[in-house]
Amino acid sequence: MKLLTRVLSRKLVALAILIGIGVWLLLVPALTNQLGANPLDRLLHVSGEIAIWTLGAVLSLTPLRVLFPRSTIVNALNRHRRYIGVSACVYGLIHFSCHVLYQGDWDDLLQSFTKPFTWFGLAVLSILVVLALTSNNWSVRKLGAKRWKLLHRLAYVAAMILIYHQSIAGKGHWYIARWLLLSLLVLQTARLIKLSLTRRSKLSPVSVKAEEVSH
């Protein structure tokens, strides 16, 4: 357990996992001709799915930390929120690049921009790009902690739009989106319940700690 925590808290390990997912699911199949009959379409879908799960992962870290403030693993993972968030943006950009390539030419690309389905995806990507660009310490200082935090709450807006974007992507089914929605809702609800309980009674040291951490 201790070893796992130590390994997981390493920045290099986090980076390797986040890049490794893309290498394993996108690059290796592409280089070994394992993408099937419609390679770009496959890359488009897989990169989109990675982006969804990465954004879901980063958004579940804050509530997890509030719920399990003493879990060393949760704390280890929380060190990497910046990396995970930025990689959600990177996979989103890969997804968008695949979309551009898949359309083939300008006319078809412009056609795709007439669809609300595409707008929702672009809205999410724009948010993620802004958040990734302001994810550095310099931006936190420049904006001030309060404004920076407010800006980065846009991640929740992005997740909501993304869930909608994905749920209409399937033909009437929404396998991925509903799991993401369910887990985020459960975690956030639990987090809010715990926060309101600790606000009422600031006696237990554990809840005080949770309160501090969440601010």
Binding site: G36, N38, L101, D105, Q111, K171, H173
Partner: protein, 320 residues
Amino acid sequence: MHIERKRSWQLPDSAVTPETVYLGRRRFLGACALGLMAGALLPRLVRAATSGFPDSLDQAYQLSGVKLTSYNDITGYNNFYEWGLEKSDPKVNANRGWKTDPWTVEIGGLCAKPAKYDVNSLVKAMGGIEQRNYRHRCVEAWSMVIPWDGFPLAKLVAMAEPKPEAKYLQFTSFMDPKNCLGQRSNDFPWPYTEGLTLPEATNELAFLATGIYGKPLLNQNGAPMRLVVPWKYGFKGAKSLVRIDFVAEQPRTLWNEMAPNEYGFYANVNPEVDHPRWSQKTERVIGAGVFGGRQPTLKFNGYGPEVAGLYAGMDLRKNF
């Protein structure tokens, strides 16, 4: 004076291979087939429910100027949600012990001669099979060219003798939740159903396919018999049929039930009417590669001369 008007799909005589060459080709192919039969294909050919019929290309449906999609792509890139949501799933999941031989098809509803057929004897009753090269356009804006083997649906309709009140045909796919994982989920109103109007069903192009590239259909392509309507989006081609019914009212169809704003009953290929989420003006050709780009989609998938008359006066935007 007798003037013969050529149909758009009829080729000039000059395009026809001389008979001697053609027969020689068949001898050559026959020798190849014998060689193959000695090999690994033997079990599949003997076991398949629709095997054992001589087959040759119907020259009227040769389709010039297009490249046939590879057998590998046709049998490895399938939308067959009963066997998984990924295109590569059916090839794996539909071949884990799902039996498509023997197979019974029931023809019923408003017709004079309802009957149950073993699929092999049905093919026999239809006078065997022929090969036709058809364009295949998926509603997801990709396309293939597929050499189907099978027989015209019109023959089956004629045999069943529809009653005057029969206006539509309903096609029903297999239902086997015990062996079929996808059908255990209630996300879809299984079994898969599709429908055609009677005039559509008796159009010369409507086809019941039992094979691809001269081989019996593989499970992932809808073995042993499926519908093929090349001027409509691919989802109209219901796979692994167990029932064909003559009905008076427009039948329910699965995708129309799932998303009526996206998938209409007619589902004719039409570059002028977009899908809500993407344009239908162009299509990706399967097998053309990553940078293969797109080609323009043709109205009625290029079969306008044969089928446009079926929809004369109809608002195709409303009846998409």
